[in-house]
Symmetry: C2
Subunit: 388 residues, 2 copies
DNA sequence: ACAGCAGCTGAAAACGTTTACAGATATTGC
DNA sequence: GCAATATCTGTAAACGTTTTCAGCTGCTGT
């Protein structure tokens, strides 16, 4: 009787001499007579009672858990997202379940389907490719999903997109504006959404500045530091060396930067380098990378908020799928600007935090996370400032 | 009748014309008559049935979830751990719950206590400080816990430790062996376990090489890139400039490296720099950082395995608390070695992966994760190799 | 053809909680 | 002091699953 496993509502009821219903009510702060409250609370603390969350979930139909699935936690972009998502969801009382899919399609689909097992109340998915199967499975998702990434318009799922096209263009414009003419592009796999979009932005901006696209200046490889280094070495050895290079993400750009150092090139004098994502890595290398902030942190926050809004039923049904796009922003640092002031970077508030983050999301459908969105947003920015 | 929410075992039973017990048996592969199996499986797929994991957890008493709690996912060391833990636990069918505590003691304690709510079956905790409250709460933990970090001997909890003392010593020895005499040390907060240990290793090794400790060469700040940069600038401006610096982690070392670049110093000729942790950041900067691998990935893997062993009941009770220590290993790169071959770093298998990872754990109590430990270990190493 | 038996099957209990309902108290108004 | 009412309490059902137990069916051997 006394010690059959951890204390339950029943053990409390026995010890306090009341019914389990009264115990539950007291524990949940519903009205009860003062001495009943006293007896129950006494018994509960004496037994060291902790409510069984599983039983509560079963009864209540919600687990207070959310899932975030991305391809690889090793990428700093996802780390930034995780941090922001975590910050938002935890204050709402949700736990966060992490899922690395290694970009295996079948794994990603399984994650969406696993919403049906009621393990978590909602899902934030950050796929790198969108296949017809994705669309199919998202349409039949057993719970609310928010996708970080681009999604066809007819899929009834909220999405938070990056504008990598304009982002890549921003970078190219910056390079062109500072007098660069042979701008190379080191891309990841072109059959991914970011891969195609960033390339498109690159080509568009080249054209707009009267620069002829040159296949010899393009490389497509995988997203990673070593890949960036090798691609850059290859470019440098190819005879027609570039005077600037755009990496499709910071890892590629950092790899390119290492290759340049190895060859004894001066950055930015001999070679200007720009990354994308403005992840922690951009501030890690030397010189610090100019990078395009595609709003990963903002997208993480927004996705989390949109999901919470769905869960709270705060979204009118006339709005089946909301689409938000984070505006890209160029952050100039030493890898393109020889006069860059390094002291500014490590000040407690980073340069780009001064931009009105809350307002930089342009909703295509409607204001997405309005209302309480702006206040927490500006709050978060301070947090993320300095010494991580 | 038909559509009251998602399909359950009951809906299947109705549709198939059998009892819920039979449905459950078929679904779990327990013996049943062929035509019963057929009917049930048909109904299940037609309804798109997915078993409710919460109900299963309640009945089974286990959630198939584990929790990993660390102070901040933004630190690459923890990212490495998360990745390894995830890899181990997911193959065992466990989901991973992530918890950033921001190093708030009360938060860490709450995580341990929350084991009582049965939300997860076990916990891997990576605290940065160990207070008496930690000990107290760990002793009464409601489920199996593995701590990544140092723990007093009498706490009945498995622990996987880093040997930062020898690790820091390794670094200092390397610097001394290459002719450095004024070796500075940029530390994080000294009231943390890593902070005190790494300092101790630094001082010990100095003494062993006949180098007098010089308070003017020590800085204690917070663990972070900006902090490292500022401390280094301060050292350089202090008049008595060092000819080498050891950062208590890679972030501090990378910050120091940036400061050196800013001042126009050549690395390693004018200033040799060593980091600790051998995280991704060590390979991100220029020149690549010499760093001490304290086995974060190995510790993550080992902790996960130890936890799974506890959960499987595979640990004899005569072994209440196991203690394992990962052996530190110095990884020399360009920040201390001018002749460093950069091509070796980005080969698909990183330099340090050639070491026998599986054997580098020296158990103080007994062989901890022996048996199936070595095979998965070597398997993981390949995976983590190149383009992340 | 019938006893014996193996194999399936269904009813029911259990996991720990919340909650609708009805019954029991305590409180108020006169 | 009594009726009417407000407040509290306990019983029981429910969430969706697994599993025990007893009963049933159909088979085998003679």
């Amino acid at each position: 009787m006394s010690d059959g496993g951890p204390p339950t509502i029943v053990s409390i009821a026995e010890r306090a001499g009341v019914s389990i219903a009264s115990v539950s009510r007291v524990l949940n702060g519903v009205g009860a007579r003062p001495d009943t409250v006293r007896k129950v609370e006494r018994a509960a603390t004496e037994l060291g009672y902790v409510p069984n969350a599983v039983a509560q979930s079963l009864k209540g139909g919600r687990t207070k858990q959310l899932t975030f699935a991305m391809q690889d936690i090793g990428n700093p972009v996802y780390v930034a997202m995780v941090r922001e998502i975590q910050a938002v969801t935890r204050t709402a009382g949700y736990r966060l379940l992490l899922h690395s899919t290694d970009a295996v399609i079948e794994d990603e689909l399984a994650v969406v389907r696993s919403l049906g097992d009621r393990t978590s109340d909602g899902l934030i998915l950050c796929p790198i490719r969108i296949t017809p199967e994705h669309v199919e499975v998202l349409k039949n998702a057993a719970g609310p999903v928010v996708v970080i990434g681009s999604l066809p318009g007819d899929v009834p799922v909220d999405a938070v997109q990056a504008d990598s096209i304009s982002g890549a263009a921003l970078a190219v414009e910056h390079l062109a504006a500072t007098g660069r003419r042979r701008i190379a592009f080191i891309n990841g796999p072109v059959d991914t959404v970011p891969g195609t979009n960033r390339r498109q932005g690159y080509l568009t901006a080249l054209a707009e500045h009267g620069l002829a696209p040159d296949p010899a200046l393009e490389r497509a490889t995988s997203f990673g530091l070593a890949a960036g280094r090798e691609a850059m070495l290859d470019l440098l050895d190819s005879g027609a060396a570039p005077d600037a290079v755009l990496g499709a993400n910071d890892q590629l750009a950092l790899g390119a930067s290492q290759a340049a150092h190895e060859r004894g090139l001066r950055i930015p004098e001999d070679l200007a380098i720009t990354g994308m994502d403005d992840s922690d890595l951009a501030r890690a290398g030397w010189p610090p990378l100019t990078s395009v902030d595609l709003g990963s942190e903002e997208r993480g926050r927004t996705a989390a908020r949109m999901l919470l809004e769905r869960l709270a039923g705060a979204v009118p049904d006339e709005q089946p799928a909301r689409r938000t796009t984070a505006a890209p922003r160029l952050v100039v640092r030493g890898s393109t600007d020889a006069a860059y002031d390094h002291a500014s970077a490590s000040a407690s508030v980073p340069a780009h935090a001064s931009a009105p983050t809350g307002a930089s999301a342009s909703a295509s459908a409607s204001a997405p996370a309005s209302g309480h969105a702006s206040a927490p947003a500006s709050g978060q920015v301070g947090v993320r400032g300095e010494g991580r």
